[in-house]
Amino acid sequence: MNRIWLIIQREYITRVRKWSFIVTTLLAPLAMAALFSSQIYLISYSVDDQRILVLDESGLFRNKIQNDSGGGIKVFYGSGDLSTNEKLMENGAYDGLLYIPKMNLDQPKGIQFFSENLIGLKTKSHLESQMENEIRRLRILESGLTSEFLSQLQPDIKIEQSGIASGKSGDTVIATIAGYIMAFIVYMVLFIYGTMVMRSVSEEKTNRIVEVVLSSIKPIHLMLGKIIGVGLVGLTQFILWGVFISITYGILGFIFAEQLMELQQYSIQPGLAPSNEAAELAVTMQNLQSVNWLSLISGFLFYFLGGYFFYAALFAAIGSAMGEDSDTQSMMFIVTAPIVLAIFISMTIVSAPNSNLAIWSSIIPFFSPIVMTARLPFGVPTWQIICSVIALVAGFIFTTWLAARIYRVGILIRGKKITLREIWRWI
């Protein structure tokens, strides 16, 4: 036991002291933030801002058609006749020309759009809805109603979901994002720390130090010590990241205390909000606070560690079979393929978290560490969690046993290429 502890210590300390560990621990949260915001950016923003020139001969819509910053649409107002404006567009100064002829409110017809290329659906529907809103507003005003009355009429409907299993009110968007992020983190952990174990094993083998070490300790203890040591490095890194994020959150909370207070007000009385977006944000914030973070984080930690132990043992086995130059890609593939498959599954199941695929893949230990973490925020029935936990614990006991049998032979074989058939014989 004492000696396993020594192995763990060495694996842990030599890694944590490394410059690369310190740098990644500090920079990874920034890189992750950049990665996710760029993803969100790519999803929600069109490629380039569209510059739309509006020639409004009716005079009804001047300054009423708004930019759509989210959709990348910028609106400019032109003057003069249609042909001069058309020239402006053809010169490339604008991407499109919206021509609104003289019209009356009862018959808004003859609106045309000119562009070199076909207009995007998003742009079209944005322009249409802006004009429809304005015409509706004008028509209502014409009928004698006041604008105050109008804003009171404006309803704000949001479907609020209750996860049956968790018994908490939830938000699909938050669940999707949280699920995706957590699954992605577990995916990264399996890869980064799994290959770290693999490299560490094969390094000891090619270094020959393994014989010296094995004369003092049993192979399975050396392997376990290594897996636990590297696992603790991963855990340390995540705890540090958690601390950094909480500190950042705390600092932001302090800086934007006033705005947050206001937002909280809006979530109680959405009518006070200056815009729909603000009200929505307020509700999202409120939902974020209503998420059962404790159970979510403990679930995440379990699958993080369980998945790590399940796969690290397999990676260790591969590392032990590796030679200096032997081709291990095919062996690597056996272990990495289910991990990659799992992240694909979890990408699809965030839109259908209770499908059969989701249920089964979150119980099978090859996939459960990633798929189940993706499902956790949606609320998962207790029986599925119990099955999944048991399967994963049994799974990593099995992979450790299996890996130990491969490891103790593989680690001592040198100077020849090891085939899968041979490995099978060792088991």
């Binding site: 020594l6 020959r208 014989e211 010296v212 094995l214 004369s215 003092s216 001592l412």
Partner: protein, 300 residues
């Protein structure tokens, strides 16, 4: 200090029989040579003794204690292909390996300091292994093997890759350790080193035991009654029926047949008008004994 007896050790890998009922005794406080060509089974035997693998059958007796499986003896093992953690510093590496041997950190530190002083390498403590030359790494490896003061030392090809100066240095240390009463197992395929260092040997080939015993006794047992004579003349006529095996200038080799003594040979030379520069019996080298034992037909 231990006496180690291998008793009918058998070990097979998938298709090959690595050791076939190997038995021999490693006497207490001696330098013992484990000899055999590459692939003879030396490393397998050592790995069994060092708990790295288990024998399929057979026992090891240590000081009359029968051991099956784990060998609880305090030993130091230097494997053939040396290995250290390349990126670790010398000091922490030695501490780690020493602690793995069961020493506390404090004990380990004081023991290592003794050796560091002995080799006069105090300024290496914070150097990383990959910044050291091969000879320097060997010294570190040697310290790692001996610093926990084991009664039994197992050195697998300890001189491979060493330059003559470092070979001498390590050799000296091995003799010192032997003089302190440690039992040393020295495994090699280089027979000439054995005669210089070992007092006892065991010869194995292809997993089979060939012979074992004291070096001098073995040489006596396999001697061929050959005498080397150096005289001041290139002509030498022997009257009695003694065969001259070969001649190189003034040096002659004679083999005594059954019934003749060395005195008869000497007398026959004295009868001639030559001056004898030297007269000695020639013993076979371990290498010759080995070749003869492995291929008994080759020399007939």
């Amino acid at each position: 200090m231990p006496e180690v007896i291998f008793d009918n050790i058998k070990k097979a890998y998938a298709e090959t029989l690595a050791l076939n009922n190997v038995s021999f005794t490693i006497p207490n406080q001696k330098i013992f040579g484990l000899l055999g060509p590459n692939g003879a089974g030396k490393t397998t035997l050592i790995r069994i003794l060092t708990n790295i693998i288990e024998a399929d059958s057979g026992y090891i007796h240590i000081n009359d204690r029968k051991i099956r499986g784990f060998n609880p003896l305090k030993f130091g093992y230097m494997p053939e292909e040396r290995g250290l953690y390349k990126k670790m510093k010398v000091g922490e590496q030695l501490l780690y390996l020493c602690q793995l041997k069961g020493l506390s950190k404090k004990e380990a530190k004081s023991k290592i300091d003794l050796w560091i002083d002995k080799f006069d390498i105090q300024d290496w403590w914070n150097k990383r292994i990959h910044d050291l030359s091969k000879g320097m790494q060997q010294k570190v490896q040697f310290i790692a093997t001996v610093c926990h003061n084991p009664g039994l030392l197992i050195l697998d090809e300890p001189f491979s890759g060493l330059d003559p100066i470092n070979t001498e240095l390590i050799k000296e240390e091995i003799f010192k350790l032997a003089a302190e009463g440690k039992t040393i197992i020295f495994s090699t395929h280089r027979m000439e080193q054995v005669e210089e260092i070992c007092s006892h040997i065991a010869l194995i080939n292809k997993g089979e035991m060939i012979l074992d015993g004291e070096v001098e006794a073995l040489k006596n047992r396999f001697k061929k009654n050959i005498f080397k004579v150096v005289v001041d003349n290139e002509q030498l006529e022997i009257k009695v029926n003694i065969q001259c095996l070969k001649q190189e200038n003034n040096t002659f080799w004679f083999q005594l047949n059954e019934g003749f003594t060395s005195n008869q040979l000497l007398q026959s030379i004295l009868d001639q008008e030559v001056e004898i520069k030297s007269f000695e019996e020639e013993y076979p080298s371990i290498n010759e004994i080995f070749i003869e034992q492995v291929n008994p037909n080759r020399h007939e």
